[in-house]
């Protein structure tokens, strides 16, 4: 891997017409809490064509999924894993792309996109989940990192 390039990963997804909303650490950044994150978390539209487009972008970026002893490195195998509805972390040469789905407290793409706000990255527009959805997801996840983010997000809103 030559080094992470989250912005380039987001640009490629957008250029390929993948329907997604940014959640997780990058959404925390966008809403004013700038801290490091180790992956790009997205919620995607679940139709199979969208999953195929995402899988093709991932594989073109050297992406693969490790599921137990299974190594998934083709668009069809990764799209199939995504269609299973579980969370799928994809390791790419541009950094890890974590497709968040099937988790309690995480709204689906339709709900998130309806309230999302656009931000620009490398000249393309990406959807960032709303502050309200972000804080609700952080509260639901409830890990130490999430609670720290929640405290900081609430401090910015006061």
């Amino acid at each position: 891997m030559s080094g992470p390039a989250f912005d380039e990963l987001l640009r490629r997804l957008t250029d390929a017409d993948v329907q997604f909303v940014v959640v997780g650490g990058l959404a925390v950044n966008a809403w004013g809490v700038v801290r490091g994150t180790k992956d790009v978390d997205v919620v995607v539209a679940p139709d199979i064509d969208n999953l195929k487009r995402l899988a093709e972008v991932a594989v073109a970026a050297g992406g693969h999924v490790q599921q137990g002893e299974a190594f998934l490195g083709t668009p069809i195998s990764i799209a199939s894993a995504l269609a299973g509805g579980e969370q799928v972390p994809i390791e790419t040469d541009l950094g890890r792309l974590d497709v968040v789905q099937g988790l309690d407290g995480v709204p689906d793409y339709e709900e998130l996109s309806a309230q999302a706000t656009e931000a620009e990255v490398l000249g393309v527009r990406v959807l960032i989940c709303s502050r309200g959805h972000l804080t609700a997801m952080k509260r639901a996840a409830g890990r130490t990192r999430d609670l720290a983010d929640l405290e900081d997000l609430e401090a910015t809103a006061e």
Binding site: G3, P4, A5, F6, D7, G25, L26, V28, N29, A30, W31, G32, V33, V34, R35, G36, T37, K38, G95, T117, E118, A119, E120, V121, I128, D152, A155, T156, A157, E158
Partner: protein, 44 residues
């Protein structure tokens, strides 16, 4: 609230006034630097 915490919260509030695009770009740049740093540390 300790002085350092007051300053931190004040900075958070200032950052929250900037555009999402500005904050996102800064967060991505910070993440890249941290990952490169930790990657280099692992190799050494």
């Amino acid at each position: 609230m300790a002085r350092s915490e007051e300053v931190r919260v004040q900075r958070l509030r200032e950052d929250a006034q900037r555009t999402l695009s500005t904050n996102l770009a800064e967060g991505i740049a910070l993440s890249h630097k941290l990952m490169q740093f930790t990657g280099a540390a692992r190799k050494s």
